[in-house]
């Protein structure tokens, strides 16, 4: 059992209610079954009220690390919202970080109230690419709507994370985890979403 980096530091980020804690806990359950030492840190509380939320994950073959990633030491960032990708890179980014981002903005309330301006999405993508070794962009929200279920955009992005092939996870393991996480009627939808995500990063590679 080896890792590209040990500890391997993954950040899953987004805004309250997007389901990033669900993803990090699914990854946590899979990897802990495989025998990795693992810690996840989450900050929630005011999350439901529109705030930025992220989980940090430390994966190791040596010991259980603390949940906090030191500055500049993320290896992979999975982001459900493009502005949040930048926020996480400002804390944990470095020349070698890999990012998988949704391109669909969730406008902060200040933007909706006309008090702030959301950055131009093309400029934001360019900046994120410049701050990453490789950046993958998916319009997961649009893809989820095409599947008739906006709620699965987080699973499409999870697929994106699998598709870049840098995590110690296999497609079969995630499929099995989806089968036990979701109620029977939602399993196929989520499996579809997962594969949509895997395909879209492989196409863009």
């Amino acid at each position: 059992m080896t890792l590209n980096a040990d500890p391997l530091n993954l950040v899953v980020c987004g805004t309250g209610g997007q389901g990033n804690i669900l993803i990090s806990r699914m990854i946590g359950r899979i990897l802990s079954r495989k025998g990795y030492y693992l810690a996840i840190g989450e900050t929630f509380g005011a999350a439901q009220r529109g705030g930025a939320v992220h989980s940090s994950m430390r994966i190791s073959t040596k010991r259980t690390y603390g949940p906090l990633i030191p500055q500049g030491r993320a290896h992979v960032v999975l982001s459900l919202e493009p502005l949040e990708t930048l926020r996480i890179l400002s804390l944990y980014g470095n020349e070698h970080v890999l990012t998988v981002s949704n391109t669909e903005p969730v406008h902060p309330v200040g933007v909706r109230a006309g008090r702030a301006r959301y950055p131009d999405i093309e400029e934001l993508k360019e900046i994120i690419s410049g701050l990453s070794e490789t950046a993958w962009f998916l319009n997961a929200s649009e893809a989820a709507e095409r599947l008739g279920a906006p709620i699965v955009s987080n699973i499409i992005l999870f697929g994106g994370l699998l598709g870049i092939n840098r995590m110690p996870l296999t497609v079969e393991e995630v499929e099995r985890e989806i089968e036990t996480t979701f109620p029977g009627s939602k399993v196929d939808l989520n499996l579809n979403a997962l594969h949509r995500g895997i395909e879209s990063v492989q196409m863009s590679a």
Partner: protein, 568 residues
């Protein structure tokens, strides 16, 4: 480090949240009774215990406040059961009056035990303060344990119950956001249904004549506990035999320190002394391990609690010329949570090492991008929130009639009023229930020329928690104010825990519903009830009540939280 060497894939290990590990430890220890009041990051403790109530024959309650919760849990301990009280840091202050007296009497001789689990929120991620509860343990003569990891939390809760039973006193377990809301793999032991029977014959009374001798006995008990803490298995030294520097760390600081030592490659020269028993402070253990060590760095959060005791300990020892660095010396800022970066910075400074977390050019590019593009993500009420409507109406009622009202607020989702996208109506905002206590005082100032109408605002759960005594005070002393209860039928901010107004209890059983309007009406004051979505009626009623200008007037703005509607 041996503590976190948990790695197994079989069924006896589970990936748990820190609060779930605390619950697991309590269940393995045979807890029968648990009570608490919700507050981030503590709420999952009572929630998870309540889920197990039926199959394990536990009693679990959401109490009206933390003092009542601790008293309830202590009652069970007096009667021979193992019990737990759980709360956030702010709640511990509410329970403090009882705790100080409880330590003087102890728990009696029936073999009961009480663990008070308090979850601090360093950095105040979702709190009004980052108060460090550890001082309260010392203040209240209560033994204090602080686990440094999720797996250790489960083990230490078990030993906390044994310690409590052995010494017949309550024990405090301090958690913090990164533990309560961090997850790791935890080893599970079997949970057995406790067969303890409750019986009351304990005499534990505190009076003026008894207080002094009891104080003596309490201090002697702490002496005995200190002796145990000198040998406590979770306290340990890890590192070289002759270290150049030793980091003394507790809680979250342990992992942060380990990481910093590793990143700087200092395994051969820097040692780590992990402390988990913080009060009474294990002096000899610390003295022994710091013998001959010139440089000491203390890593903890938030206040210099361990740091001041390390200094005291070394001052009492034979050695001189030792440097103790930490929050007091400014090597670590004296506010905010601990993280690996703060330890890296302190270590590099003390040892004169160059350390850069990332290249200067990357740092510069990130900084430029942040300046140019990054905007904050403010908090506000959810779509469909009745609070927004209530504050909108209040704003119209006051500003529209050019009324110079002064508004006191309280703790809950309505606190979001003070953020830029709220209506910014609140002028004062402090502790649970303070809206009414402050308003009761303000409402007396007319005799000093004060002419502004006073409006206080709190939610339903906060009303039950601690606003009622202040309301009675205001009625009794004839204070001049309008109190608005924003009744959304939920403790919404912390995740929809049950409270006396909702008709069910923590375990999901039907419960008596305490009616806020009837309770207020019983005080013989005017009480009006309005649906916040009836904007016209709300503005009119608010204005009328404000203009009435005599005594206490109550308005309940009643509409269920919209998230609750979606949950149903």
């Amino acid at each position: 480090m041996p503590t976190n060497a948990v790695k197994q894939t079989d069924e006896s290990f589970k990936f748990l949240l820190g609060n779930e590990a605390i619950v697991q430890g309590a269940l393995e220890a045979g807890v029968s009774f648990a009570a608490g009041y919700p507050g981030t990051p503590s709420s999952e403790i009572i929630e998870r215990l309540a889920e197990r109530a039926r199959d394990l024959n536990l009693y679990v309650e959401w109490s009206t406040n933390e003092k009542v919760a601790t008293e309830g849990a202590a009652a069970a301990a007096f009667s021979g059961l193992r019990s737990m009280a759980a709360m956030k840091n702010a709640g511990l202050s509410v329970a403090l009056d009882f705790l100080t007296h409880l330590s003087l009497t102890g728990l009696g001789d029936l073999g009961g035990a009480l663990v008070v689990a308090v979850c601090d929120d360093p950095d105040a991620h979702s709190s009004g303060d980052e108060t460090d509860s550890r001082w309260i343990a010392k203040f209240a003569y209560t033994p204090l344990l602080e686990p440094s990891s999720v797996s250790e939390a489960r083990e230490m809760v078990r030993s906390a119950f044994d310690l409590s039973e052995r010494h017949k006193c309550s024990v405090m377990l301090r958690s913090y956001t990164r533990l309560s809301h961090g997850s790791s793999l935890v080893e599970l032991a079997e949970i057995e249904k406790s067969d303890r029977r409750a019986h009351s014959e304990t005499d534990a009374c505190i009076t003026p004549y008894l207080a002094k001798p009891k104080h003596d006995l309490t201090l002697r008990r702490l002496d005995r506990i200190r002796e145990e803490f000198e040998q406590w298995p979770f306290n340990e030294y890890h590192g070289p035999e002759k270290p150049r520097l030793v980091i003394v760390a507790s809680g979250s600081g342990v992992q942060c320190a380990l990481e910093a030592i590793e990143l700087l490659g200092l395994e051969e020269s820097v040692g780590l002394l992990k402390l988990t028993t913080l009060w009474p402070f294990p002096k000899q253990f610390v003295q022994e391990h710091l013998k001959g060590v010139r440089e000491v760095l203390v890593v903890e959060e938030v206040d210099p609690f361990v740091e001041s005791h390390v200094k005291e300990t070394l001052f009492d020892g034979d050695e001189s010329g030792q440097n103790v660095w930490g929050r007091q010396s400014g090597h670590i800022p004296d506010f905010g949570e601990i993280n690996p970066d703060r330890v890296l910075a302190a270590l590099s400074e003390i040892l004169g090492i160059e350390f850069k977390s990332r290249s200067a050019s990357y740092g510069k590019r990130v900084e430029e991008a942040v300046d140019k593009l990054l905007i904050s993500r403010g908090l506000t009420w959810c779509a469909g929130c009745p609070h927004r409507a209530s504050f909108w109406s209040l704003n119209k009622a006051i500003k529209g009639a050019k009324i110079d009202a002064y508004v006191t607020g309280d703790i809950g989702c309505y606190t979001l009023d003070v953020f830029p996208e709220g209506k910014c109506q609140m002028n004062l905002l402090h502790a649970m229930g303070s809206s009414l206590g402050l308003a009761a005082g303000l409402g007396q100032l007319g005799r000093f020329g004060h002419q502004q109408p006073i409006v206080s605002i709190c939610g339903d759960s906060t009303f039950f928690h601690s606003a009622i005594p202040a309301l009675i005070n205001a009625v009794y002393n004839n204070s001049n104010l309008v109190h608005i209860v924003l009744d959304n039928e939920a403790t919404a901010m912390t995740g929809f825990q049950a409270h006396p107004g909702v008709g069910y209890n923590a375990m999901g059983d039907p419960a008596k519903r305490v009616d806020i309007e009837k309770l207020c009406a019983a005080l013989d004051v005017p009480v009006e009830t309005i649906d916040p979505f009836d904007i016209k009626a709300a503005i009119r009623t608010m204005r009328d009540l404000i203009k009435r200008e005599e005594g206490v007037r109550v308005l309940t703005m009643k509409r269920a939280c919209d998230l609750l509607r979606m949950k149903r």
